[in-house]
């Protein structure tokens, strides 16, 4: 059964007509112990059929461990989006609800020509002396989540030093527990710096930059203390 309604397909096809470059999407799914893999696979197959610019491939991490390891995939379902040069934007969980909107935006960013980050953010990324792992916990019903998820994915697409993971918090309860997620969006950088709620780009980058310079070397750091 199709998961994209006719009107959704029509709308997404119109969006994808705006892609000016190929976008590579690698979908990690498996049949064993992954109840949401089948829906994820269906959604991505249907998306792939809407544009020749979208190159969707499917990988089973159980049979292709080396590739999964190289891409840093340790749970499924996972979706990697890249413009062919970077593979540092990953979505974990079914891309439903508002997470679908984040995935579409990420695809349009990767296949478009427009400048999506402001100059100060690009400066911050270019000056990074350390790698950043940005995890953004989201739920499909959270309207605030796409802006946090997309900001992380845009930063990862713009810098070799950044990896972004957008994680559906309900599907990965152990990970949510580990990071004490009880509200979304929750952004966790390098397992240490965290932000509750969605911050505008300028505010997030400025707080992160200040916290990285001024925060104590150990312990969890709330970015709202560095606004």
């Amino acid at each position: 059964m199709a998961l994209l309604s006719d009107s959704d397909s029509h709308e997404v096809k119109k969006l994808f007509d705006g892609l000016t470059r190929d976008v590579r999407v690698v979908v990690y799914t498996q049949k064993l112990q992954c109840p949401s893999c089948s829906d994820t696979e269906t959604i991505l197959r249907e998306l792939g059929a809407l544009s020749e610019r979208l190159k969707v491939s499917f990988v089973n991490p159980l049979t292709d461990e080396a590739l999964a390891e190289a891409d840093g995939i340790d749970r499924v379902p996972a979706i990697l989006v890249s413009d062919g040069t970077h593979s540092r934007v990953r979505f974990f969980g079914t891309p439903s609800g508002y997470e679908f909107s984040s995935l579409l935006t990420c695809i349009m960013d990767a296949g478009g020509d427009s400048q999506v980050l402001s100059a100060p953010t690009i400066e911050f990324l270019d000056a990074l002396g350390t790698d950043l792992d940005i995890d953004v916990f989201v739920t499909p019903t959270c309207p605030h989540c796409p802006s946090a998820a997309v900001l992380a994915s845009r930063m990862a697409a713009a810098s070799d030093r950044v990896v972004a993971s957008v994680i559906e918090a309900n599907e990965f309860p152990e990970l949510s527990r580990k990071h004490a997620v009880q509200g979304v969006p929750r952004t966790v950088v390098n397992e240490r710096f965290f932000a509750e709620g969605s911050m505008p780009e300028a505010m997030f980058v400025s707080a992160l930059s200040r916290a990285m310079r001024e925060a104590p070397a150990e312990g969890r750091v709330d970015l709202s203390d560095y606004l």
């Binding site: 059964m1 998961l3 994209l4 309604s5 959704d8 709308e11 997404v12 969006l15 829906d39 959604i43 079914t94 891309p95 439903s96 609800g97 508002y98 679908f100 909107s101 984040s102 579409l104 935006t105 349009m108 427009s114 400048q115 999506v116 980050l117 402001s118 739920t139 499909p140 019903t141 959270c142 309207p143 605030h144 989540c145 796409p146 802006s147 997309v150 845009r154 918090a169 309900n170 949510s176 004490a180 997620v181 009880q182 509200g183 979304v184 929750r186 509750e196 709620g197 969605s198 505008p200 780009e201 300028a202």
Partner: protein
């Protein structure tokens, strides 16, 4: 069928700013209705729709009083309003207004993406949930304290939660949470709820729900997350074990950038006359940011339409003056 949301997250990075006949500040129903009407009037315009479009409507689990639509999620209604405006040519920028000041007969508007010189301005920036200011509220935000039941309800499946407030939003979201939580309390400072009677009836009929009447929240307690709340009740202080606290204690209008531009009321709302007119001839206001009493999606879209019509009239007067 899985629910999928197709709206894209915008970016303000490519915006060059410049001159425009109308700048609409805000991304909720009032701004979107204004954008639709402005597009159909053929007014050159830009919508500074903020970083989180959809406004408070997008955070509402279900809307059942928008005429013509029996029941819809707030997210779907907000998305439909935006799609409709975009289909008629509305022009959006993912930015928020930082400052606005008069310059001759125009308004200089600085957003966090660009600088605009606008002949007319519609302030439709809405309102954000108010903080109660009790101990523990900031400390446990994101760790059991939430202002968005639509976003966070799944984390409280099988748990005990408390909703603070007694208006429409509090009761609507309490009913949404009751679908997840095992036990739900509402704490309200009065002896009756202000919400729509239909919603109150539903809440009082819910067997897992109970109300602390004439009670106030004094403190939120816990260690890693929320563990209990301290209430002042008619019978004295009571500590109630809960896992989560959802706050619906009113809204704070987002008017800070317009403080020196137009008259505001002591509560921060825009002082209006004739529904959408402000103290400045070329600045209009619409939706929850105003002092208009009923704050619903239906009144917000009505305000938005009126504000766009008022801007159109002023721009036409300009044209007439030129001729």
């Amino acid at each position: 069928m899985i629910e999928l949301r197709t709206g894209l997250v915008g970016s303000g990075a490519g915006s060059a700013g410049g001159e425009t006949d109308l700048l609409i500040a805000g991304g909720g129903p009032a701004a979107l209705a204004a954008a639709l009407y402005a597009s159909r009037y053929g007014i050159s315009h830009v919508v500074a729709e903020s970083w989180q479009p959809g406004g408070q409507a997008a955070l509402t689990a279900r809307i059942e009083n928008y005429p013509g639509i029996e029941s819809i999620t707030g997210g779907d209604l907000a998305a439909a309003l935006r799609r409709h405006a975009a289909a008629w040519g509305a022009s959006f920028e993912a930015s928020s207004v930082v400052s606005a000041k008069p310059s001759g007969n125009r308004i200089e508007v600085v957003t966090d993406a660009a600088s605009w010189s606008a002949r007319t301005l519609i302030v439709a920036t809405g309102a954000a949930p108010s903080r109660l200011g009790v101990p523990g509220e900031e400390e446990f935000y994101g760790r059991g304290v939430s202002y968005c039941a639509t976003c966070d309800a799944p984390f409280f499946r099988g748990k005990t939660v408390m909703v603070v407030g007694g208006g429409d939003s509090a009761v609507k979201e309490a009913l949404h949470l009751a679908g997840f939580a095992d036990r739900l309390y509402v704490v309200h400072r009065r002896d009756r709820l202000r919400a729509e009677p239909l919603l109150v009836e539903k809440l009082l009929g819910c067997d897992r729900c109970s109300v602390y009447w004439s009670s106030t929240l004094l403190e939120i307690r816990g260690s890693d997350g929320v563990e209990s709340v301290l209430l002042r009740t008619p019978g004295g202080e009571a500590e109630v074990p809960v896992d989560g606290v959802f706050m619906y204690v009113g809204r704070t209008p987002a008017t800070a950038p317009f403080r020196d531009l137009i008259d505001l009321n002591p509560d921060g709302t825009v002082r209006t006359h004739d529904v959408v007119h402000t103290s400045r001839e070329n600045v209009f206001a619409a939706g929850d940011v105003t002092d208009n009493e009923l704050r619903q999606v239906v009144t917000a879209v009505s305000d938005g339409a009126r504000a766009a019509a008022a801007a159109f009239e002023l721009l036409q007067r300009d044209e007439g003056g030129k001729g």
